[in-house]
């Protein structure tokens, strides 16, 4: 059995400080949604609210058609995986996994059988009698995963489950987590501050900032069509340029910065462009050229750094400091006068805020 | 609430009784501060207070100095020796104050080991009376508190990262220079905490001044007991108690604030 989760206009406080404001979120049946954001933005708090370790000031949390909001934490039936594993240090691996079954009053023979089966699925049946202290980090996290899965919860939640593991293991484990979640078809809410991890593992990702969800979308949409400056900057659109449309010519739009820098964009590639807009570009989205006839923003190049696949330039323009990548074939010296031309593949159009 | 039983116990059996003791001293019909002026008008009682300060201060300073140097040596010892030395400091610490004060009764008595020894080497002809002097009380208090200082300061010294000492010697500082310029400043907050422990415990001690000072070297603790249980003057005893509370609370508050201010590792 697996159920959709819906969080409805939750506000939460620690003491008198507000940490979540009017947060709404749904996770469809069998879907994996990630909460992604910098440390302190309220991801853990959201999980703790759903798990029942914290009471919301207002709002409601539902799992299927069951209202969880006033249910005590031990009655919520949610599988939780913690960053620091949170294994019971005094219980064997097998008893850790069997713990939830014991609370559900299963006979001990049945408990052991299911615990061992689940340990087998995560490849740790041979360590069943060890104590958690004797396991490596990756093994510990597998036990934690088995412990959460064995109770067959309708909802699984993960709080930065991989951040204590080394880089290689992180990649392996996230694939494993995704496969187990898919195989069981369990609804899952996954917290991470690692963008690559979130994008690779999730059906949809919620980007959070200061206790709010800034955008909830598929990784592809977030990456290509951020909805606002925060998300744009978060996914690597480092340049945010305020522009005003001066003329429209079919699908071609001519626009200008406040100090007169000119840019031409095609609505075919970027969608409808409003009269006032923000052009968001990644460093690769600004082509550095010394071709005087190109339409673009005039810039003076500052410091150059070598990225391996390109050179990166700090560019001084009338619209502020911008970052652009230039090809290795034609390096420019610091102080060169150039033109920055947007490359629509690495650009997005935002509403001014 | 889970902390309610402890809160209640402390309120009912500590705060209220102690507050009652103190309030008695302000409830004399003759006037608000009469018990205090009586206390300070008496030369004998002033002497008791002053002696208590003096004894506690000397015991504290000596314990701190020897405790620090010993702790420094112990913390630099190889592990097995360190364990042995820690055990040898814990043992007296866990042995009661009465037993440890009593030891000095045997040592300093008329037929005690020290008199016997001095007579045997011919330094003296007849036994000296060393008991019931200020020195005997101070020596016993130092004896009692040095192990505490050693253990507190080993903890403090071990909290100083080895990196700092290595950095110091790599910059050319001799062990002595490292001790005075790196170790000591970092240990100051811990030293203050330890010193406060020793001072307050000495200031309020009873068994040691009772056994080794007797009625000749009355200190605040023994004086409080004498007022209450021999003279049955409970107002006077309460006054002594109130003065002790004021001295201790002030010392602790001032010194912990100082320790916090002098802590270079605090952010």
């Amino acid at each position: 059995m697996t159920l959709p989760l819906s969080i409805d206009q939750i506000t939460a406080h620690y003491g008198t400080t507000k940490v979540l404001e009017d947060l709404s979120l749904t996770v469809g049946d069998g879907e994996l949604v990630s909460l992604l954001g910098a440390s302190g933005c309220g991801k853990t708090t959201t999980l703790r609210l759903v798990a029942g370790f914290l009471q919301p000031t207002s709002g409601a949390i539902r799992l299927g058609d069951k209202d969880l909001t006033r249910l005590p934490a031990h009655g919520r039936d949610i599988g939780l995986v913690f960053q620091n594993y949170a294994l019971f240090p005094h219980l064997s691996v097998k008893n850790n996994v069997a713990f939830g079954l014991k609370q559900r009053k299963l006979a001990s023979g049945e408990r052991d059988k299911r615990a061992l089966e689940m340990l087998d699925r995560v490849g740790l049946a041979h360590l069943a009698d060890r104590l958690p202290g004797e396991l490596s980090g990756g093994q510990k996290q597998r036990v934690a995963l088995a412990r959460a899965l064995v109770i067959e919860p309708p909802l699984l939640m993960f709080d930065e489950p991989l951040s204590n593991l080394d880089a290689k293991l992180r990649v392996d484990m996230r694939v494993e987590i995704r496969q187990l979640q898919r195989a069981n078809g369990t609804t899952a809410l996954y917290v991470t501050h690692d963008q690559e991890e979130a994008f690779s593992i999730s059906d949809r990702v919620a980007i959070m900032n200061s206790g709010r969800i800034m955008q909830l979308d598929t990784p592809e949409t977030l990456y290509q069509r951020p909805a606002n400056k925060f998300v744009a900057h978060f996914v690597g659109f480092e340049n945010l340029i305020d522009l005003q449309v001066t003329a429209r010519d079919g699908e071609m739009v001519h626009a200008q910065t406040h100090d007169g820098g000119k840019i031409t964009l095609s609505q075919e590639r970027l969608g409808a462009i409003p009269d006032a807009f923000v052009l968001a570009t990644r460093p690769d989205g600004l082509v550095v050229t010394n071709d005087a006839s190109a339409t673009g923003l005039p810039a003076t190049l500052g410091m150059r750094t070598y990225l391996g696949r390109a050179y990166q330039y700090q560019c001084q323009t009338g619209a502020g400091q911008l970052i652009a990548n230039g090809s290795l074939a034609t390096p420019f010296e610091s102080g060169a006068q150039v033109t920055l031309v947007p490359n629509p593949d690495q650009c997005a159009i935002l509403q001014p805020e | 609430m889970l902390s309610t039983p402890a809160t209640l116990a402390i309120s009912l059996f500590l705060i209220i009784p102690v507050a009652a003791t103190i309030s008695v001293t302000f409830s004399e019909p003759e006037g608000l501060f009469v018990p205090y002026s009586a206390f300070f008008d008496s030369a004998f009682q002033r002497t008791v207070l002053w002696r208590t300060f003096e004894v506690a201060a000397i015991a504290t300073v000596v314990s701190v100095v020897f405790g620090l140097l010993t702790a420094y040596v112990v913390s630099r010892c190889p592990p097995w020796m360190k364990s042995v030395l820690i055990v040898l400091a814990v043992f007296p610490l866990l042995t009661g104050v009465v037993v440890r004060s009593f030891a000095w009764l045997i040592i300093l008595g008329r037929n005690g080991i020290l008199n016997n020894f001095l007579q045997w080497i011919g330094a003296i002809e007849r036994p000296l009376s060393m008991l019931y002097t200020q020195t005997s009380v101070i020596v016993a208090l130092i004896y009692i508190f040095v192990p505490l200082m050693i253990l507190v300061l080993i903890g403090v010294l071990e909290n100083i990262p080895d990196d700092l000492l290595q950095a110091s010697s790599s910059l050319g500082a001799s062990p002595t220079a490292t001790f005075f310029q790196v170790v000591l400043p970092l240990a100051v907050p811990g030293l203050i905490v330890g010193a406060v422990l020793v001072f307050t415990a000495s200031f309020t001690s009873y068994a040691t001044p009772h056994l080794l000072g007797g009625s000749r070297q009355m200190m605040m603790g023994t004086f409080l007991h004498q007022r209450a249980m021999t003279s049955f003057d409970w107002v006077s005893a309460s006054t002594v108690a109130a003065i002790m509370v004021v001295v201790i609370v002030t010392t602790v508050l001032v010194m912990t604030r100082l320790a916090r201010r002098l802590n270079p590792m605090a952010s």
């Binding site: - | 402890a6 055990v87 209450a228």
Partner: protein
């Protein structure tokens, strides 16, 4: 780090340790001396003074009382101290700041003042029997140690372990007993031992809380010394030191003795 230590410092350390241990050896010597006054070195050897402890009924009685008070007082302090320490660590933000200050008050107030005040208010004022006043005094005496030691143990306890158990369906109260307590066992043991030793050796709180037929061993020792200057006290002291040694062996076996400097 192996820095050289100045020879004078090493010499001083040796002297300090002779100063620390010597007097305790002297007590041992005095306890087996066959003179009727306290003498060291002993002239002849005897165990008479150890037998004498059992012949003096006041010692027999006070030894029993001391153990009763130390065990009961420590048990009561654990009973109220463990929940308090748990609350302090688990719900620190929700609790008012003065609470942790309140819990260290018994350390701040001189023990002798606590004893005297309990005599005035509880024993004389309310007519509470001496034994219970003594028990209350000792509970207060050891409560701060209990709270501090168990707090230190809880400070390194990862409360997400508790949350994991609850999320798996274990009720909070049951979780406390099956998950939290087993993981702070060593803290509780340390608190118990420290409290027991403090209570058994206490003079200042007990001083005023004794009455006809009820006294503790340290108070009885003080009373005995006033009247007799014989080696009985030395042999009682040796017994107390043996108790200390037993406790240290227990600590070493369970916690490791170097834990004391932590």
């Amino acid at each position: 780090m192996a820095t050289r230590i100045h020879p004078l410092l090493i010499l001083m350390t040796i002297v300090v340790y002779i100063f620390l241990i010597g007097p305790l050896i002297i007590i041992f010597g005095a306890s087996v001396s066959d003179t009727t006054f306290l003498a060291f070195p002993p002239q002849g050897l005897t165990l008479h003074w150890f037998e004498n402890i059992w012949e003096i009924s006041a010692f027999r009685r006070t030894i029993v009382t001391s153990f009763q008070v130390a065990l009961l007082g420590t048990a009561m302090a654990l009973l109220i101290g463990i929940p308090a320490a748990y609350a302090l660590n688990r719900h620190r933000i929700q609790l008012p700041g003065w609470l942790s200050t309140l819990f260290v008050l018994p350390i701040l107030i001189p023990e002798i003042v606590i004893g005297f005040s309990l005599l005035r208010s509880i024993n004389v004022g309310l007519g509470v029997p001496v034994f219970f006043a003594l028990l209350i005094g000792h509970t207060l005496l050891v409560l701060p140690y209990v709270i501090r030691v168990i707090s230190a143990s809880l400070a390194s306890f990862d409360f997400s372990i508790e949350e994991a158990a609850i999320s798996l369906g274990s009720r909070p109260v049951k979780t406390f007993f099956t998950i939290v307590l087993p993981n702070v066992r060593s803290g509780i043991l340390a608190a118990f031992i420290l409290a027991f030793i403090t209570s058994i050796n206490d003079v200042s709180v007990s001083l005023f809380l004794t009455g006809p037929g009820i006294s503790t061993l340290p108070i009885q020792i003080l009373a005995h010394v006033e009247q007799f200057f014989d080696p009985t006290i030395a042999s009682v002291s040796v017994l107390l030191m043996m108790l200390t040694i037993i406790v240290m062996i227990i600590v070493e076996r369970t916690l490791g003795l170097t834990a004391v400097t932590k």
